[in-house]
Amino acid sequence: MDIAELTNRPISVGDVARRFVPEDCGATVTLDGYARRFTRNLANGEIRQTQYLVYEAYEQMALKEMKKMIARAKTAFRISAVAVIHRLGRVEIGETSVVVSVAAPHRHEAFAACSWLIGELKRTVPIWKKEVYSDGEAWAEPSSSLGTQP
């Protein structure tokens, strides 16, 4: 029932969120992460404009890490079904780069597991984001994650 997937094609958030509606569940919490056009630098207040993103992955390892974190989430939280799908390649502004969707009997566990899973994904899954601006490009720094996280 769980999904860990990498794809080069656009992701439909609604399809992912509704892929599993287990009969013992009452809530699905879905995080839709997408490319932001305007990002405020929290240090100096300047606003940077992104043109598009490019994601690259160590695909086999990324899928292994995604499956591991899903297994850990299902042990730690009372949840029934998890889907984690990450886009690779060029991603336009507003397009979904990552979806994490968790179905659970009760909403509190769905919120907690969904939030934990996206944090784990950003911490452990070997995927890299390049941000392309009008005047250059840069690989995202995870240390500035407050500015670049979905």
């Binding site: 160590y58 292994k64 950003k122 890299w128 984001k129 690989w139 995870p142 994650s145 670049t148 979905p150």
Partner: protein, 79 residues
């Protein structure tokens, strides 16, 4: 022994390579391999490199075996 080395993201751009094959002596660690690569590809020197061996995260002390797939990359930034 022979190692398959994979580079990703900023590390691949710095080394201008994504796949490398290295022949090295026995008893080499991941950390020692990284030192060799930083010497052969100086632009890697400015990068913080993490490593995985056979698709599992590995520490610098990890000893390598013939045929291992070693991946080197900067801290991940997906999401």
């Amino acid at each position: 022994m022979n190692l398959k080395i994979l580079l990703f993201g900023a590390a691949a751009e710095a080394a201008k390579n994504r796949d490398l094959s290295y022949s090295v002596g026995q008893d080499i660690t991941v950390g020692e391999l990284i030192e060799i690569l930083r010497r052969d590809y100086p632009p890697l020197d400015s990068l913080q490199l993490l490593s995985a061996v056979n698709q599992e995260y590995a520490e610098a002390e990890r000893r390598l075996n013939d045929g291992d797939e070693v991946a080197l990359f900067t801290p991940v930034s997906g999401g």
